[in-house]
């Protein structure tokens, strides 16, 4: 094992890898810190670069981008009450309220420490959990994989969205898009309409760049707010006071970390769900619930730890089962496939070096987050001053080049535009976009495991519950389906009683 760790450290010490990690740090802090630009968009635009990198630098960059971007999302949340990423939304009101009271620097300092702490907790669980779960996952059959994929998609449709029915539409749309192209069983062309560009299916990268990049450019241009007013940082040091604050709320930090880890391991639930859940738990047990939304420091610590501990834990189902936790880890699967690494239980044995390098990167990045995070806080006013009317055309051009770069085909640029317009139209009408990407990635696994299970069981659906783990996963999936109906049933009962 020591050999593998040393080899992985050597691969990370490569100048290219160090340069990539540093660039990803700045890129993640910049995009995460820009209000309205999401980390998912950042990673979508990064994928074409990943195409030209070796697996270790590509994955190290993704880990860095994710951690730095999610932390930096707290900056515009605190200074202009506009979360940089959905994961920061849960405690934006509290952060902003405290900033208005002249504590912006302290709040952001607490965000850095909480994020780094959460990230380290997640990294430890990833290291321990992935290997343990991989051994267990080797015994999985098509039934378990079917339920696991369906559980992930059901969670993202029914729990991770404001409107379950619209979440369901997004998932079905993604699944439908995954069926386009040549079918693997008979080599039959499905929904290609004779277009040779669609034989290989809907290309994942242009689709994602369109859904997250072009649609975001359209939204920001349409909003027209190119310069933003922001709260000023107070003078003084923030490192030691931030450490002191997190220490004062250490039990909240621990509880937030556990909540984040649980949501992270659950397929289909991303960092935003982790943060919201931690917010709810914190409010439930707080001695000062009246402060929530008006400047509660304890919720900033608890939810801030939760969203970053969720990030590393999300990699467990992603690596071990090939089931991503959110749109971000869906991209990780895309990159793994692009590099010829098939996620699944065997990945831990087949590519141990690469995985250990990922583990080390997680620890390294969360340690690096402290100095870089505090530097980003100092630079935050400059960051928010970057005019968006200069940035948006550049992002559009990067989208065009990124979509084109994978296959050197203008058809992909057209596909990107169509998906961008689709994403814009859907989001403008309250349909979530992230489940589309998740379903596009999970579609082939879901269909394949469903068809194999159906043929094995000769159409007997009870056999889908015949194995213990499959039965548990199947029951969990059914619970996720029933959950959205509970408020509806309560409402009906209340109406009847009235």
């Amino acid at each position: 094992m020591l050999d593998i760790i040393l080899q992985s450290l050597a691969s990370l010490a490569d100048p290219t890898v160090i340069a990539v990690i540093l660039l990803a740090t700045f890129y993640g802090l910049f995009i995460g810190g820009m209000p309205g630009l999401t980390v998912t968009m950042a990673v979508a635009l990064f994928v074409p670069f990943a195409f030209f990198l070796d697996p270790v630098p590509a994955l190290a960059a993704i880990v860095t981008l994710q951690a730095m971007g999610i932390f930096a999302g707290d900056i515009p949340g605190a200074l202009i009450r506009m979360p940089g990423t959905p994961a920061s939304a849960a405690y934006t009101d509290d952060s902003h309220a405290l900033s208005q009271q002249g504590q912006a620097r302290l709040v952001l300092g607490v965000d850095v420490i909480a994020s780094a702490l959460g990230g380290l907790m997640g990294a430890i669980v990833l290291i321990v959990g992935a290997s343990a779960l991989a051994e267990f996952a080797l015994t999985f059959s098509s039934y378990e994989f079917f339920w696991l994929a369906l559980l992930g998609l059901s969670t993202t449709a029914f729990i991770a969205t404001a409107s379950p029915i619209k979440g369901l539409v997004a998932v079905i749309l993604g699944l439908f898009l995954s069926t386009v192209g040549i079918d693997i069983t008979l080599g039959f062309q499905r929904f290609t309409f004779g277009n040779p560009n669609l034989l290989g299916g809907i290309s994942f990268i242009p689709a994602m760049i369109g859904l997250f990049g072009v649609s975001e450019v359209l939204r920001i241009v349409l909003r027209g707010q190119m310069h933003l007013a922001y709260a000023e940082l107070e003078k003084g040091a923030s490192f030691l006071p931030a450490i002191g604050t997190v220490w004062r709320y250490r039990l909240n930090a621990l509880r937030g970390g556990i909540v984040g880890l649980i949501t992270g391991v659950l397929p289909g639930a991303g960092a935003d769900i982790g943060a919201w859940l931690a917010y709810g738990v914190c409010k439930r047990f707080s001695k000062e619930p009246e402060k929530f939304g008006k400047g509660s420091m304890e919720v900033i610590v608890e939810a801030g730890v939760a969203n970053n501990s969720d990030l590393a834990a999300e990699w467990i189902p992603t690596l071990v089962f090939g089931i991503p936790g959110d749109a971000f880890t869906a991209v990780v699967i895309g990159i793994l496939m692009l590099k010829g690494l098939r996620p699944g239980p065997a990945i831990l044995h087949d590519y141990t070096n690469i995985l250990v390098a990922i583990y080390i990167t997680f620890i390294l990045v969360n340690l690096l987050m402290v100095p870089f995070g505090f530097a980003a806080i100092r630079a935050s006013s400059h960051l928010l001053r970057v005019p968006r009317n200069v940035l948006m055309p550049i992002i559009l051009l990067m989208c065009i080049v990124g979509a084109y770069a994978i296959n050197n085909d203008l058809f992909d640029v057209g596909l990107m535009l169509v998906m961008g317009l689709l994403g814009f139209l859907l989001e403008a009408n309250g349909f979530p976009v992230a489940p589309i990407v998740l379903a596009l990635v999970l579609g082939p696994l879901l269909e394949q495991s469903f068809m194999i299970s159906l043929i094995k069981s000769e159409g007997d659906l009870t056999l889908f519950f015949s194995r213990p783990v499959a039965a548990i996963l199947g029951t969990l999936t059914l619970v996720v389906w029933i959950l959205p109906l509970v408020p509806l049933a309560k409402k009906l009962i209340t109406v009847r009683q009235a």
């Binding site: 079918d183 499905r190 027209g224 009317n389 200069v390 055309p393 559009l396 051009l397």
Partner: protein, 154 residues
């Protein structure tokens, strides 16, 4: 959002019906086992049900307030958004003929100027950023960006 939900829900339901009918024409596996059509057929049915759900939900909530699309946004911003779409279409149609560099310069200058950057800065940034992106992608990452009218110089 109500009226749009009724409209979008209906479109989703109709699209689902079309997917279902198209997938029914797909062949089965030998021995009568379901083939490549089964999964899309199920998705078609789910599309119909969820589309009806979206439309039905809006009807139940009696959300009839009709708002023309994008009516909350000023017309200048709507034209800017339209320009973003046209810029991509323009690129797809003319990139092979004109090449990446002229196309990118035109797109950057037009969009920056239109969204409030001064003409001088739009030109400086448009040319500078295009060259930076070209050098990075074409010379460093070796992405063969269309050279178009500049093919003898690049």
């Amino acid at each position: 959002m109500g009226t749009w939900d009724v409209l979008l829900g209906s479109i989703i339901a109709i699209a689902g019906a079309c997917i279902f009918l198209e997938a029914r024409t797909f062949p089965n596996l030998a021995g009568g086992y379901p083939g490549p059509g089964l999964f899309p057929q199920l998705l078609g049915v789910l599309f119909v049900l969820s589309g009806l759900g979206v439309a039905g939900n809006a009807v139940v909530k009696r959300a009839w307030a009709w708002k023309p699309p994008l009516s909350d946004h000023p017309s200048r911003e709507k034209i800017n958004a339209l320009l973003v779409v046209l810029a991509v279409i323009f690129y797809i149609l003319l990139a092979d003929t004109l090449g990446f560099i002229p196309m990118a310069i035109i797109i950057l200058i037009a969009l920056m100027f239109r969204t409030g950057v001064s003409l001088r800065w739009s030109i400086v940034l448009g040319i500078g950023l295009t060259l930076a992106i070209y050098i990075f992608f074409n010379r460093i990452l070796h992405v063969p960006l269309p050279s178009g009218i500049l093919k003898y110089w690049l």
